[in-house]
Symmetry: C2
Subunit: 218 residues, 2 copies
């Protein structure tokens, strides 16, 4: 994490050509590409079952990339914005309900946290984007960094809709295992904690401290 976006490729497999869908899809993709000033440089189109593979490549100085390894016992863990919005939208869609526009936006058009990841270069010592849910993605950091963690549920940053959903159902899975939020989970050495507040202010983003990392008991 922490790279500057350079270009992306698209491999698109479709069972048939739906011009309306293709127009909407390519417009959205183009808008995102424009936002990050990158071009579609290649890929493939083929007929087949629906499959979309987008491969974004970026550049980061040697040895500067934020990896899953590097976290140390005692480091605080942070996550950006709120968790579970995309998963709750998907759950509602599956139940034939109509999610709010806020939830739907997070599900259909999650914002890549590119500026945040770049701000964390030289500050965070591990970082991952939460695509599969906090529990699974934080576990990647824990495994690669050989540390442990306990998550304080009360500390999880939740939108009011997700908080209400959990209050009603005790379904913590949307926030812990839902995925598709693409928020960042990262660890910061205590010496750099003050820098986090400055980043929050600069980027107008919410960064929530979850727990400290624990030494792993093997």
């Amino acid at each position: 994490m922490g790279a500057t976006p350079l270009y992306f490729t698209l491999a698109l497999s479709l069972p048939s050509v739906d011009k309306k869908w293709l127009a909407d899809f390519s417009q959205s993709l183009k808008a995102l590409a424009k936002q990050y000033n990158i071009s579609l440089v290649g890929g493939d189109t083929s007929k087949g079952k629906l499959s979309i593979t987008i491969n974004a490549t970026g550049f980061v100085e040697k040895n500067q990339a934020l990896l899953r390894s590097g976290a140390q016992a005692g480091d605080p863990i942070f996550v950006s914005n709120t968790l579970g919005d995309a998963a709750l939208a998907w759950q509602q869609i599956q139940k034939q309900q109509t999610p709010s526009s806020a939830l739907l936006k997070q599900f259909n058009r999650p914002e890549p946290q590119v500026a945040l990841a770049q701000s964390l270069l030289g500050i965070a010592n591990s970082c991952i984007d939460i695509s599969d849910g906090l529990e699974q993605d934080l576990s990647h950091i824990l495994t690669c960094s050989k540390v442990g963690a306990g998550i304080n549920l009360e500390a999880l940053p939740l939108s009011s809709e997700v908080a209400q959903h959990i209050a009603n159902t005790q379904d913590w899975c949307v926030a812990l295992a839902g995925g598709d939020d693409y928020e960042l989970c990262f660890t910061v050495p205590n010496a750099y904690i003050n820098r986090i507040k400055a980043i929050e202010k600069d980027l107008d983003i919410k960064l929530t401290r979850l727990v400290r990392l624990l030494k792993r008991k093997d």
Copy 2:
């Protein structure tokens, strides 16, 4: 075309885990990666309908890449090796027949013509790999270069199996529209024709001259 391979990514979507298939697939992929001295640097695995997207990235000096544009009227067109072997193998598989090992190899393990493309840097003025069949891929060169071409069927380089199949069935489609051979189709200015013989010898590869490019009649 003409780049030096740098790295590749793999996005794999599978309906279920078939350990035997995965072992065979990853061994083959690893062997090819080793042959070209490149690493798998990222990608994704997910559960879903079968979809395999491999994205190989290479490096080529600025303004040196062989593009689809650049061909001039009067330039001879060349193709590498033979055409239609992969398509004939696929046709036989669909008819429950067992293709020869030579055909099957071309279908299952086509050789990327990396060394040939690199040898053509500074010599060819357009180049494409034949993934969709000669007719379609040559058309990309013709469109991008704003030239025309006639294909002399007698000149097409065919393996004895494909030649026999066409003699029996008049099914020229395997050689013209079959695809999946991944041979190269390229054009060379007349001044560099002699270099082609040297490349043939150096790389121990067959390069067949098809026709000259024609001026496009708009």
